[in-house]
């Protein structure tokens, strides 16, 4: 059969490339090509000291990376702490935010009274501009004049220093992120749930399967693709969190709640640090890429079976 198929005309062979060309060109122009410069910059040390402007950077191999993993270097301790925080932050978002999004989708999937209100209540946070949302939470978390402490104090508790206490600051930022994103994740689960035919459930109900059994045996496996998609994007987004930190304590006391991308922003404007910030960017991209690729490959292998 295959052998007898005449070779495709050139136009037909070019078709897929023409279809992806606009996206591919834009991504190359604004993302990939600029990122290549990040790689080369991460291997160079900018000229420093008096009259450094205009002098070419010096190739230093992996020295920038080496410095970043050195606690005694002026950015080393900050990098390691922010890196650790970013991992904790991303895992917490995935481990708490994604199940919450799924739960909300399951609760709000079917026609029911006040459906619009319920969905709005959990989805509106993702409609807020990050800087606005963070400012609202900075009001809630404020130590002296904040809402959370006003409530706690009216209950006789002395109040918590949400953003100023180094043991609490990261948790506060995580709370805000989950609140901001759970409804967003819900939307994808809702779309995914629509692809599951209703009659499967009807058959299962007739067989006497309980709600939980139906969920574990039917819904979850059928939502696998959506679940993987949401896990991947939630992980990626967690690594790109930055704007809200401006209003939420600027990374906490001594970087106790700082995240990698914000640390990059704090140091990007001084030439002497360009090697370091680019090295940090490479580490960040590396972690995300590894996570995404492994998920993607697992998924593709799964698909082809």
């Amino acid at each position: 059969m295959r052998l007898s198929t005449p070779p495709k005309p050139l136009v037909a062979r070019l078709q897929p490339y023409l279809l992806i060309a606009p996206t591919l060109i834009l991504v190359l122009m604004f993302n990939v090509v600029p990122a290549v410069k990040t790689v080369t910059d991460s291997l160079h040390k900018p000229a420093r000291g008096l009259n450094a402007a205009g002098k070419p950077p010096e190739f230093v191999g992996a020295q920038n990376f080496h410095d970043l993993f050195d606690e005694s270097h002026y950015l080393g301790a900050r990098f390691l702490r922010s890196f650790r925080n970013t991992i904790v932050f991303a895992l917490a978002t995935v481990a708490l935010g994604v199940p919450l999004g799924l739960l909300l989708a399951l609760l709000l999937n079917h026609e029911q009274p006040l459906l619009g209100v319920w969905r709005f209540a959990v989805f509106y946070p993702s409609l807020l501009p990050l800087i606005g949302a963070a400012s609202i939470w900075s009001f809630i978390f404020s130590d002296s004049i904040g809402l959370a402490n006003a409530v706690l104090r009216s209950l006789g508790h002395p109040g918590l220093n949400w953003l100023g206490d180094r043991t609490l600051a990261l948790l506060s930022v995580i709370i805000v992120n989950i609140w901001k994103q759970a409804g967003y994740f819900m939307i994808f689960f809702l779309a995914g749930l629509q692809n599951i035919p209703r009659d499967i459930y009807e058959a299962a109900s007739l067989d006497g399967a309980s709600g939980w059994q139906q969920f574990a045996a039917l819904t979850l496996p059928l939502l696998r693709r959506t679940l993987l998609f949401v896990i991947v994007i939630s992980f990626i987004f967690a690594f790109q969190t930055v704007e809200q930190l401006q209003a939420l304590g600027e990374g906490g006391p001594n970087d106790s709640a700082n995240l990698l991308l914000y640390l990059i922003f704090q140091n990007i404007s001084e030439r002497r640090n360009w090697g370091y910030v680019n090295a940090m960017t490479i580490v960040l991209i590396g972690v995300v890429l590894t996570f995404t690729l492994s998920n993607f490959l697992l998924f593709e292998r799964d698909e082809s079976n």
Partner: protein, 433 residues
């Protein structure tokens, strides 16, 4: 005048309007400004631009809002590094001098001043403390003071009077005594906003009060681990721990004036940039006084605070014509004139930067009505340079993180933490010697 001529003129005017009001050979000055107040800065600068254009035909001012100070710095750097033209004049932090001078983006104002007939008088009218951050180690003036401020002590005069204190504290011992007397279950005696990412400025007040500013005229020298510098941070930490007059780790910057206005703090350290807001918003008598001296002086010699705020910078990579530079300098002169300084100071609360402005309306009558403005001005005689060095952002980052770790008691041993920081800073600044 004939009808024909009138029609002609009308036609020309219409044509001018149609070309968006900018004549072909007008010099256009891109002016980037940050906003750090709740005023309609865009509206105010447009008003200034209109007034300027009326007096200077052939020059058009294009005011562009560029966010906070940090946003402004990053916007300008991104634009210049990305091959853009950048602004002609910008308001940036007075401490941004070395960062931009190092990159060769800005030019000194000194050349323009030297070319003036009365350049000396122009410069001498500014308060000397406000010039400190705009001058390099060789004495060249780079930037001109525009919206300046210092930290100052605000106190709730009614609460102090109730507790039997008729005058504000003048040294740290009195400060602690009054703060403790005024601390209750729902009120802090004293809030010092060192939490929230930028403790260095407030901390500098204490370091100066203890007799040692952490910065000098030499941008390669920093004094962060001297006994005075250590004692100062230990004192600030004790306010939230042993002395218990405020929250441990310090108060958050933005919330401090709100707490003060609501009567939840008896005294606060905050910027004079806040003066108008606090005076207009308070429902009690607001007292303002110099930051108390540390143990260094008992007769007022230990008073002192750093300066802060934004200066006017001139951008040129060497490509601008004399006519353009001339227009740029006219705009800088205009914004730093007594007329504009008086208006800007009265509207926002920033300290008008030259002496003449204080005799000019509307500031003169505002200062008459509220003597607190005069206190902010008079404190300038004790004020000292704000922290700035080569690699300012990096060095400032080291200092801020170290202060935070000490203030939140993550580092118990202040001296040890500051020694580590000092060594890192010295390593960086050695490259500039």
């Amino acid at each position: 005048m004939s009808i024909c001529r009138k029609a002609c003129i009308a036609f020309v005017i219409l044509a001018l309007l149609a070309s968006a009001g900018i004549a072909q050979d007008d010099i256009v000055i891109d002016f980037y400004f940050p906003s750090a107040t709740a005023n309609d800065a865009e509206g105010i600068f447009q008003r200034y631009a209109d007034a300027f254009q009326e007096r200077n035909e052939g020059i058009t001012i294009n005011p562009v809002f560029t966010g906070s100070y940090t946003d402004t710095r990053n916007t300008i750097l991104t634009e210049l590094q990305g091959g853009g033209a950048g602004p002609d004049v910008a308001v940036m932090l007075s401490i941004d001098l070395y960062s931009f001078a190092e990159e060769g983006y800005i030019i000194p104002a000194q050349g323009f001043i030297d070319a003036m007939d009365d350049g000396g008088a122009y410069i001498d009218d500014f308060f000397p403390a406000l010039m400190a951050n705009g001058v390099d180690e060789e004495g060249n003036v780079w930037s001109i003071p525009f919206q300046r401020s210092t930290p100052i002590l605000y106190y709730n005069a009614e609460l102090l009077a109730e507790a039997g204190y008729d005058s504000p504290p003048t040294n740290n011992a009195e400060l602690v005594e009054i703060a403790q007397a005024l601390t209750t279950e729902d009120r802090d005696g004293l809030l010092v906003p060192v939490a929230g990412g930028f403790p260095i400025w407030m901390y500098q007040s204490f370091a100066i009060a203890y007799g040692q500013n952490i910065v000098s005229d030499d941008p390669t020298e920093v004094y962060f681990n001297t006994p005075e510098a250590v004692a100062a941070v230990e004192f600030v930490r004790s306010l939230g721990t042993d002395l218990g007059v405020g929250p441990a780790g310090g108060a958050a910057w933005g919330d401090t004036p709100v707490a003060f206005l609501a009567g939840q703090a008896a005294m606060i350290y905050h910027t004079t940039g806040n003066l108008s807001r606090i005076l207009d918003g308070a429902e009690f008598e607001v007292g303002v006084w110099y930051l108390p001296s540390g143990p260094a002086g008992d007769d007022g010699t230990g008073y002192g605070s750093p300066t802060g705020g934004g200066n006017l910078y001139i951008f040129d990579d060497g490509s601008k014509s004399d006519a353009e530079l001339d227009a740029i300098w006219k705009w800088v002169m205009f914004l730093s004139s007594a007329e504009i300084q008086a208006d800007w100071g009265a509207t926002t609360g920033y300290i008008a930067s030259n002496a003449t402005a204080w005799e000019t309306e509307p500031l003169a009558s505002r200062a008459m009505e509220y003597p607190q403005y005069g206190v902010a001005r008079d404190q300038l005689q004790f004020a000292d340079k704000e922290f700035s060095s080569y690699a300012t952002i990096t060095v400032q980052g080291i200092i801020n993180k170290t202060l935070e770790s000490i203030l939140t008691s993550e580092s118990e041993d202040a001296q040890a933490a500051m020694d580590v920081a000092q060594a890192q800073i010295d390593g960086i600044l050695a490259e500039y010697k």
